[in-house]
């Protein structure tokens, strides 16, 4: 045992990688591989010329703040620019309710540190975002899953789960929910259930952590902006900690996201962020601010909705052609993801080596489930691949599923 191994913390000794990030690494080595794995925005949608102009203007102005340490809370004019945008979505707030973070992943991490002691319970959807699972577990949370229905969280199951946990003396800290175009299911939580969840939160005295990276990406053929109204918009009592991001609308590289919460929460998150990374990239924040004030973001949104709605159509069409009878799915009303169920008995994790062999890749369902289920589901991201590659990739995937189904048993893992 090395000096490090002897020194690892309990958490440090247990650290293991994310399934999605590992898929990304796998994909990187195979140029012909068609990846439906990571939820990367289509780089053709990036506003390249606008960023070039903005960067040139900013660097030409030689304002010291641009390259200096910035406030931990975030660049003040950016926070000010977010306030009216949030108000338009129904979220009344001031800059005192805002903290800028290095992507929403950092927001999840800081919120977890603020609320979770080892052994505390965090409630999550079945399935839910793996990055959130990792953040919650890294603080020692015990994760308890709540089932989803076609219109989102199963409220009867939520009550049941809470009752069981409370009866066992658990400290239930918050419910983590992704109402808009959920990761990984693509599902949309109904407005009635949003209101019911807020009532539940008050009644149960349990916070909601509402993660909303995809809310702007509703597909106009089947969804209206009003359908994506944040739960936070109706939160008069500070029950909701709300997360937004520009990673899916402007660019993930500009690590810029924010938390909306009561000032008492924001002040403590600010202190936690001081020791986590002191401040987020100042240059990134300035690029995002200019993209907002110059109208780049607002010009992007209709284009993005159209692009991703079209890609969803292409993928759903290819699935209908190739996979009818082999799998089931419901085309999403927004976002990046299409969730596919294979027949029970098929194991999408065990099927992965065959998929890689066929040069197509997805994320297996199991890592999204905190209850050990999900083995016959998989997540397809239609956001990054081109239209022709989506069609080719689904054809390849159908071949892999057919082979697995024909073998009448789970495909065994390749190699020793």
């Amino acid at each position: 045992m090395t000096v490090h191994e002897r020194a690892f913390s309990r958490m440090g000794a247990q650290l293991t990688g994310s399934a999605i990030r590992q898929m990304g690494i796998l994909a990187a080595g195979r140029p012909d591989l068609i990846s439906f794995a990571p939820g990367y925005p289509d780089p053709d949608t990036f506003a390249w010329d606008a960023y070039r102009d903005i960067a040139d203007d900013l660097l030409r102005a030689r304002e010291a703040d641009l390259l200096q340490y910035g406030p931990t809370r975030g660049y003040a004019p950016l926070l000010e620019a977010l306030v009216p945008r949030l108000r338009r979505q129904g979220v009344a707030c001031t800059t005192d309710d805002l903290l800028l973070t290095t992507g929403s992943q950092q927001a999840l991490d800081l919120v977890t540190r603020l609320f979770v002691d080892p052994g505390d319970v965090v409630l999550v959807e079945l399935p839910t975002f793996t990055g959130a699972i990792a953040a919650f577990r890294s603080a020692g949370a015990r994760l308890v899953g709540v089932r989803q229905e076609a219109d989102g969280l199963d409220l009867a199951h939520l009550d049941e789960v809470l009752a069981v946990e409370r009866a066992n003396g658990a400290r239930v800290k918050f419910l983590y929910v992704i109402p808009n175009f959920q990761n990984p299911t693509g599902g949309l939580l109904s407005l009635a259930k949003r209101r019911a969840l807020l009532d539940w939160s008050r009644r149960a005295d349990v916070l909601l952590v509402e993660d909303d990276p995809y809310g702007d990406l509703w597909f106009p053929d089947v969804t209206r902006a009003e359908d994506t109204r944040p739960i936070k918009a109706d939160d008069d009592e500070g029950q909701v900690v709300y997360l937004q991001s520009t990673s899916k609308t402007l660019a993930p590289a500009l690590r810029t996201a924010w938390v909306v919460a009561p000032p008492a929460v924001i002040e403590r998150l600010d202190v936690a962020k001081q020791s986590a990374d002191l401040c987020s990239s100042t240059l990134d924040q300035r690029l995002v601010l200019e993209a907002i004030t110059r109208g780049v973001l607002d010009a992007q949104l209709p284009r993005l909705r159209e692009t991703y709605a079209h890609k969803r159509d292409v993928m759903a069409g290819a699935l209908a052609r190739e996979c009818t009878g082999l799998a089931s799915w419901a085309p999403p009303r927004g976002g990046f993801f299409l969730w596919v169920q294979l027949p029970e008995g098929l194991d999408t994790r065990a099927m992965l080596p065959a998929a890689v062999e066929a040069n197509v890749i997805y994320v297996a369902g199991a890592p999204f489930f905190v209850d050990g289920s999900g083995h016959h589901a998989l997540r397809l991201a239609f956001c990054a691949a081109s239209v022709s590659r989506i069609e080719d990739g689904i054809a390849r995937l159908a071949g892999v599923i057919r082979t697995a189904a024909a073998s009448g048993r789970p495909v065994p893992p390749a190699g020793p």
Copy 2:
């Protein structure tokens, strides 16, 4: 009590802000205030034109990776570019030994999570960097201080402290040390003591965390590059986790720093970073890489050494004129900071309101000490202020100290 207050974790309930960041906020509201508080680089040293050219070239090329999610480990060509630079400093490594972080503050945070369970002991210098103290405490570490001498850590005291902690059954996880131009003292650890510390680390079976943001900023009149040789350079057995950054040499806004450690440590830090912020700003990393490959960084270094050596001279000269007999200090051989001791009985924290009133500000000594001492010390940063403001600021400060000393007792805090 609100729903949040009921839900805070033990750590969340205790979060309080950093003294240095609070000084920064104070300074922001008073344009005539001369700040010697935060260790901000002189923005006149930033390579504005180079960054403008680089940003333009990068954004013109429209390479998808520039604005996409990047690998958690860091942009591979940047890691590759760091390897020969580290080798020139004597640190033999490959990209397997490297992890890129969102500033060194994140490196401190991730290293702490990897090694520290609540109650574990971390050894630190008396005094040491407040950001490190905050990161260690946020994981529940118990911090134990080791005294410093003119040439750095007091090795006899180190042995003594370790013996006491071990006798009490403490798990001592690592010793945190800033050998080059220490924050806050500006001190330089002697080469003999560096070798002795490495021996101690092996013998004691305690890791070293070596933080080196200022190593490149040695002042040519009194220091040679060899005097700053990292402890890591002689570490054949993986005893040292080594941190470097471009925040003080290129620009703090480009949140780009890195950890050098054995692959088994790096792999776990990578997983911890996945849940902390997924990846650092890709654009920042590309700007830093180009600044390295185009020779911008190497061209900066001699200029920075000259600029900061000159500012040190100006501040030391002003102190000699204004404060001889009132205070004692030793002009540093590199870096950003000048450490000043006032007579016992003066309290530099209590003196702060009078200093703000006189439009000059510093960081009081006490927050740098984990043992409750340091009340009559203060840290002056000579890096950010202009030469004329350094001279004015020291004259103002001398007036404040004279008044405090004449009153024969600590200056009481202003207001209720």
